[in-house]
């Protein structure tokens, strides 16, 4: 390019240093900086990952023998209910919102989110409902114990008859989580639609932003149904209405519709941003443009549309008519098409690339492996007769843990490692990262693969005891679960030691393309401030030699002076 005297001055902007005097205090305050909120979200989520994981390990301890002998059955039921609730509402959604907060403004060149105070309020609801949920362990009668679906009438049975009971606190917490997610979704959608840098058209946006936009649109459409359903459940529980009580003329199946109308799309809220992470990472570590960018971007929107019309596939044995079973089976199968487009696009991106297997790439490849496995078992579950057999068995538990842990959580790990240098200003330790990957990948498959044969043999999910013929695979699964528990140790060690004494990170350690890599590490409070670059080409120009923004050399020169 031509030599230009223009200096964006991006290198001279003051970077906030987390270790500066009193710098850490902003993480405990009502801070409105999206990058602070992002780290608040991720740190909170990781704490709850430990809590949820601990509950899971107690469950797997119980299930290592056929008899109910480690904990009381009531305790087991509380544990599995809280495990699911914590992992979804206090780990998965918050950690993804953390990534959204860190990545979206930087990727589109916005100084912050559209509504910073709303953003902070949405975050601070998380510890509030987290405390409410944890407090339910301490109320008389114990925590909610009707599963994370909380189907009535079993969820409406309140053995002690107290007004304040575990189930009521659970409903309040879930409703608050919904409010928080709606506030977040408004913010993310508005930010993406209204605050992009000049020249960044929708079809020049990084795929992560497309998937975040798609996921947050689902939140806006679906969450009101769940929240409404939950409020009616609360009324049934505490003030004696009978929306779902059959003895009062209510219909318990109605709740199942409200619940799954949101809670199936919720899976796409989780997996879509992870697809976004895969789409960002594969081009960087294969040194090739994302194959078929526009197809991949549009596929996210098709998934949004279809995800809203598949919910009855959770209810095939609930007593729904045959036409409904056929219709919802076909819509569910159709989701395989846009999903397949993405998988094939990733493979074509990797094909003939110059692959670098560092920790984020290993997690992304491992996540893709697990996701494809979950995908093919998902097709089996979509077909009604097979679903009738394995519905509510361990086959389903295995399937969705491959999605939620094998693909989504591993994708989140990939994202954390990939963007760790950018947002902390420190490099992580590659050796510990690879150890973390190895333990996670082996643990995941050891833990969740055995659940498939168990389900096919007919072992129901949510049981605290089982017939002896299921013992073999359960022992393997439990060993895998304990290995997953161990895998967290190198991860936490890596995070903490890198933060404290990791090597200083340059602005662009991976030689990646993207606006976030044209910022110093960590980025200044207002990102580009008055020097927002003008985007002149698509997001994945690897090997093309095309600059991403006007005066790119000036930005890079300025960064090198830091």
């Amino acid at each position: 390019m031509t030599i230009t005297p223009f200096d964006p001055g991006i290198g001279e902007l003051p970077s906030p240093q987390p270790q500066a005097p009193n710098g850490w205090k902003r993480y405990f305050s009502f801070n409105t900086d999206a990058k602070v909120i992002g780290i608040q979200y991720i740190a909170t989520a990781l704490i709850f990952l430990l809590v949820g994981g601990l509950l899971a390990m107690i469950m797997r301890g119980e299930l290592i023998t056929p008899e109910a002998d480690l904990v009381d059955r009531t305790v087991y039921n509380g544990l599995y209910t809280m495990h699911g609730t914590i992992m979804l509402f206090l780990f998965m959604f918050p950690v993804l919102n953390g990534l959204n907060n860190l990545l979206i403004p930087c990727m589109i060149g916005a100084p912050d989110m559209a509504f910073p105070r709303l953003n902070a309020a949405a975050f601070w609801l998380v510890p509030v409902f987290g405390v409410i949920l944890m407090a339910s362990f301490l109320v008389p009668g114990g925590p909610a114990a009707s599963g994370w679906w909380s189907y009535p009438p079993v969820s409406l049975q309140n053995p002690l008859g107290h007004l304040i009971n575990g189930e009521a606190l659970w409903i309040v917490a879930v409703a608050l989580s919904g409010v928080s997610s709606i506030m977040g979704a408004l913010n993310f959608v508005t930010t993406i639609l209204r605050m992009r840098a000049p020249g960044m058209t929708l079809f020049r946006m990084p795929i992560f932003c497309w998937t975040a936009l798609s996921a947050q649109v689902i939140q806006l459409i679906g969450l009101p149904a769940l929240t409404g359903g939950a409020v009616m459940l609360l009324f049934d529980l505490v003030v004696g209405t009978s929306f779902y009580r059959p003895e009062g003329g209510g219909d318990p199946v109605l709740y199942q519709h409200f619940f799954w109308f949101y809670s199936h799309p919720a899976v796409y809220v989780i997996i879509l941003p992870v697809f976004g992470v895969f789409s960002e990472l594969f081009p960087v570590y294969a040194r090739k443009p994302l194959f078929g960018y526009k197809f991949v971007a549009a596929a996210s929107l098709v998934i949004v549309g279809l995800s809203l019309v598949v919910w009855v596939h959770h209810m095939f044995p609930s007593g729904v008519p045959q036409w409904m079973r056929d219709l919802f089976m076909v819509t569910t199968m159709l989701i395989a098409v846009p999903t397949g487009i993405k998988v094939f696009a990733w493979l074509a991106t990797l094909w003939g690339g110059k692959i670098r297997l560092n920790t984020p790439m290993l997690f992304a490849l491992g996540g893709l492996f697990n996701f494809v496995f979950a995908g093919v078992t998902g097709i089996m579950l979509a077909t009604v007769p097979v679903d009738i057999h394995v519905n509510n068995t361990y086959f389903v538990v295995g399937h969705f843990h491959y999605v939620i842990y094998g693909a989504a959580t591993m994708g989140v790990y990939a994202a954390i490692y990939h963007w760790f240098p950018k947002f902390t200003g420190r490099m992580y330790y590659e050796g510990l990262g690879k150890l973390h990957f190895l333990l996670t990948f082996i643990g995941t498959n050891l833990n969740f693969f055995p659940m498939h044969p168990l389900g096919l043999m007919g072992m129901p999910r949510r049981v605290s005891s089982y017939d002896p013929e299921f013992a073999f695979w359960n022992v393997i699964a439990s060993l895998g679960a304990f290995l997953l528990g161990v895998s967290i140790i190198p991860f936490l060690l890596n995070l903490v030691s890198s933060l404290v004494r990791g090597e200083r990170a340059p602005a662009n350690p991976w030689n990646a393309i993207g606006l976030e890599w044209l910022l110093p590490s960590p980025p200044p409070t207002e990102n580009f401030e008055d020097h927002v670059p003008t985007v002149i080409s698509g997001p994945y120009g690897y090997g093309t030699g095309l600059p991403l923004v006007e005066n790119q050399e000036a930005y890079e020169r300025s960064l090198q002076q830091v």
Binding site: M333, P385, P460
Partner: protein
């Protein structure tokens, strides 16, 4: 799909053909293996479900191993050299390829869906999937036996089976071989799930509704009926046996059972609850008290070896 625009060589193409052939063989083999992962087939629905599952296993194996092959190939052969920081060839897409991998999965999943709808229809003809909602109950075909021979009552936490024509109640489900039996499923408290893995059949039992359900057992033996919808504290223990007998044995069992005096039926929950009440300390949270075991002619057994 090659790295360079040049035409792939004959060796590459034949290598690919051999590999695809191996994958197809492996997929067929997995499809055949899949029958061994399932319980014995004891109802008319089971072979249909298993056939569909076998087909899906073969397709799934092919897709999964195909994707993993590509991943393994690039990890083995497309690695960047140690100090190579250059970019690879900037291939941004290929419209024809993208259309192909949109259309092929579309055709594939729609073919699976068509096969499945066909299986649905067949199972519906034979048995349980045709239950009606609020519609009239199907009348007896010839008047000799009622359309619904057995009433199934689920509770927290026991299963009770009533044979009104024979005047028998039991906590062990006895069924005749090779005859389509109509069941009426009811729940007295929460949603339960009527699930017999060997029959490949499952139905939520929803309080406030009477759900008609049909089974045609096809194999003699003793099987497990498991509560498949989480129903509270002793959900896991809410399991009983299903005994499939020849028509003659079934009828003579009914005759003998009708003469037996009523006694408390099986309920592991009640037993465990009584044990817990006997202890001075409690290690659990509050629980719903189990319903008393139903009074039945035949309690049956929960501890005999079962076939599936």
């Amino acid at each position: 799909m090659t790295t360079t625009p040049s035409r792939p060589g004959l060796t590459a193409l034949s290598g690919l053909a051999v590999w695809l052939g191996l994958l197809v063989w492996f997929s067929f083999w997995m499809g055949r293996q899949s029958y061994r992962w399932l319980p014995v087939q004891a109802s008319s629905a089971a072979p249909l479900v298993d056939g569909l599952f076998s087909f899906e296993t073969a397709v799934a194996t092919f897709v999964f191993s195909g994707v993993v092959s590509v991943m393994a190939w690039v990890i083995l052969f497309n690695r960047a050299a140690k100090y190579d920081v250059s970019d690879a060839a900037p291939i941004e897409g290929n419209l024809r390829l993208e259309i192909i991998w949109t259309v092929i999965p579309l055709v594939l999943v729609m073919a699976i869906a068509a096969y499945t709808i066909d299986v649905n229809r067949q199972i519906g003809l034979i048995g349980p999937m045709e239950h009606v909602h609020g519609g009239p109950e199907p009348a007896a075909a010839d008047g000799s036996s009622p359309a619904f021979e057995i009433e199934v009552i689920s509770r927290q936490w026991s299963w009770e089976f009533r044979y009104p024509a024979a005047g028998v109640t039991s906590t062990e489900l006895h069924l005749p071989l090779e005859r389509r039996v109509g069941l009426q499923l009811r729940s007295e408290d929460v949603i339960h799930g009527f699930y017999v893995p060997a029959f490949r059949l499952k139905q939520q039992v929803i309080p406030g509704r009477v759900i008609p359900f049909f089974i045609t057992p096809t194999r003699l033996g003793r099987y497990r009926l498991r509560d498949s919808e989480y129903s509270g504290t002793w959900f896991a223990a809410n399991q009983v046996d299903v005994v499939v007998q020849s028509e003659d044995d079934y009828q003579s069992w009914l005759r003998r059972a009708a003469k037996l005096p009523l006694q408390p039926g099986l309920s592991d929950a009640s037993r465990e609850y009584a044990l817990q009440q006997g202890r001075s300390t409690s290690s659990g949270y509050a629980t719903v008290v189990p319903a008393p075991p139903p009074m039945v002619n035949v309690p049956g057994s929960n501890t005999l070896p079962h076939d599936g």
